[in-house]
């Protein structure tokens, strides 16, 4: 049976028949507001403000359009999606439209009543992020007090309400040595699935790369830990393991290929091929306020630009892996080489590959990493004096 993992940055089967007509997944970033300040946040450095967010009706319309288009799963994310008081109204419409609904939450702003209500409205699955299983470390990473205790409580509610739970554990230099405890924590919490997700270095994580990058030895050891745990926990907990591509030889098929399986809607309604796409120059992002989702998916300039293989240059052009990894990640190519049409520097065929690997080795080898730049809204500019 074919198995599609639409939301993972690493997918073994990127070529998906189901995606020819429409994406299978939509990541709805309902808001950029979040009580946590994790320094690896995937949101852009320039965060959307509350006043610019789509309204309830606009999000509900996105849900209906998504179902009509043929999208199967909706991932309600943020920021922290539960800070939107109308989350229930959005979930209700999404579930009624036939979408499989997934709540991606840090949990700290949830209540049991709210979760029970969301379940009644049709919420299918909860993905709970954790920063670490060590209180001091968890607080240091998230800049939020007592978050871990709250997450334990949320996990308990999810189990009591008999909802399926995924624990999402972003892995980096500060918590990679705790991986065995993180896996145990997820089992105790009752998770049916865990994402051991090494940080991908975009946006805030790229800014904090020198503070977050683990060593190659740490990554290799973590892979062994995951392999052993997978075997031990077969039939109990499903694993998804994402490695940092700085130590890879071939690039990841980012998003399963550009404009191929997934679309992303920002809090303001801009429709992106991936959550970091705004770092790629020369793209025009349509907004759900101006254009139908189906039209954007099929014809939008940003989706057409790097869809398929015709945009490729050497060494991607003609490469036997061209339709396996699609040249990797456009955003990473842009960030590291200055040209989004270059092959991803994670590829060993890239002329930038050695420098890319050297950056990770050098930064992860530093005895004292730099302090975090926490994810915060930039201050509102004061009006200029007359």
């Amino acid at each position: 049976m074919n198995e599609i993992a639409p939301m993972e940055q690493f997918s073994e089967k990127p070529v998906v028949e189901a995606c020819a007509r429409a994406p299978v997944g939509l990541l709805a970033e309902l808001t950029h507001r979040c009580p946590l300040q994790c320094p690896y946040c995937s949101n852009p450095l320039e965060l959307d403000r509350v006043g610019s967010e789509l309204t309830t009706e606009q999000w509900q319309d996105v849900m209906r359009q998504a179902a009509e288009l043929g999208i199967l799963q909706i991932h309600l994310s943020g920021g922290e999606p539960t800070v939107r008081k109308d989350l229930e109204d959005i979930v209700e419409v999404a579930a009624k439209a036939g979408l499989y609904t997934n709540l991606i939450t840090a949990g700290v702003t949830l209540t049991r009543d709210r979760l029970a209500h969301l379940k009644d409205l049709g919420l299918d699955h909860v993905q709970l992020s954790i920063q670490d299983v060590d209180d001091v470390n968890a607080e240091k990473i998230s800049a939020y007090k007592n978050g871990l205790a709250k997450k334990r409580e949320v996990g308990k509610w999810v189990r009591e309400l008999e909802m399926p739970l995924t624990v999402n554990a972003p892995i980096h230099r500060l918590n990679i040595e705790n991986l065995p405890n993180i896996i145990d924590f997820a089992v105790e919490l009752g998770a049916g699935r865990i994402e051991v997700a090494n940080i991908q270095y975009y946006a805030w994580a790229l800014k904090n790369r020198a503070a977050l990058m683990p060593t190659r030895a740490q990554v290799l050891k973590s892979a062994e830990i995951v392999e052993a745990a997978k075997e031990r926990l077969k039939g109990v907990m499903v694993f998804d393991f994402v490695v940092p591509d700085y130590y890879a030889k071939t690039p990841k098929p980012c998003m399963g290929g550009w404009g191929r399986g997934v679309m992303n809607v920002t809090p303001q309604g801009r429709v992106l091929p991936c959550h970091a796409a705004e770092t790629v120059p020369g793209l025009i992002f349509d907004n759900v306020k101006d254009r139908r989702l189906a039209d954007i998916w099929l014809n939008g300039q940003a989706f057409q630009m790097y869809r398929g293989t015709s945009w490729m240059k050497e060494p991607c052009r003609g490469c036997p892996r061209a339709e396996i990894d699609f040249g990797g990640c456009r955003c990473q190519a842009m960030a590291f080489t200055g040209d989004p049409a270059n092959t991803d520097p994670a590829c060993k065929l890239s002329p930038y590959h050695d420098a890319f690997v050297a950056a990770a080795e050098q930064e992860s080898g530093e005895q004292t990493p730099p302090p975090f730049v926490y994810r915060r809204m930039s201050p509102v500019k004061a009006p200029a004096a007359e």
Partner: protein
């Protein structure tokens, strides 16, 4: 208190069912069936669809296989073995539960 967490082994007497959060759904646009699961979409083949449709928590694996062997005019033992291995794989992926 943590829930019982051991691997389920599928045997002929097991009674498989889809948990409430797993959805076997027909997609009219693509003209095929999907199994929707947390962060996963499965594309079942025609035999898998027939098996999954019969996973109601009442019928045993043996009954399901007997039923299919009749419908497809195929040897029971072969169908039973295939059904068990498919359901074991799906159970390990959290897609099927069984008692």
């Amino acid at each position: 208190m943590s829930t019982a967490r051991t691997r389920v082994i599928i045997v002929p007497a097991s009674k498989p069912a889809l948990p409430p959060h797993i959805k076997l759904r027909h997609d009219p646009g693509r003209g095929r069936w999907h199994v929707l699961a947390p962060e996963r979409v499965f594309e079942p083949d025609p035999i898998a669809i027939e098996i999954l449709k019969r996973c109601d928590g009442v019928a045993s694996v043996e009954q399901i296989a007997t039923d299919l062997a009749k419908d497809y005019n195929a040897p029971l033992q072969e169908i039973l073995n295939d059904t068990i291995s498919m359901l074991q794989e799906l159970s390990d992926k959290g897609v099927v539960k069984a008692v």
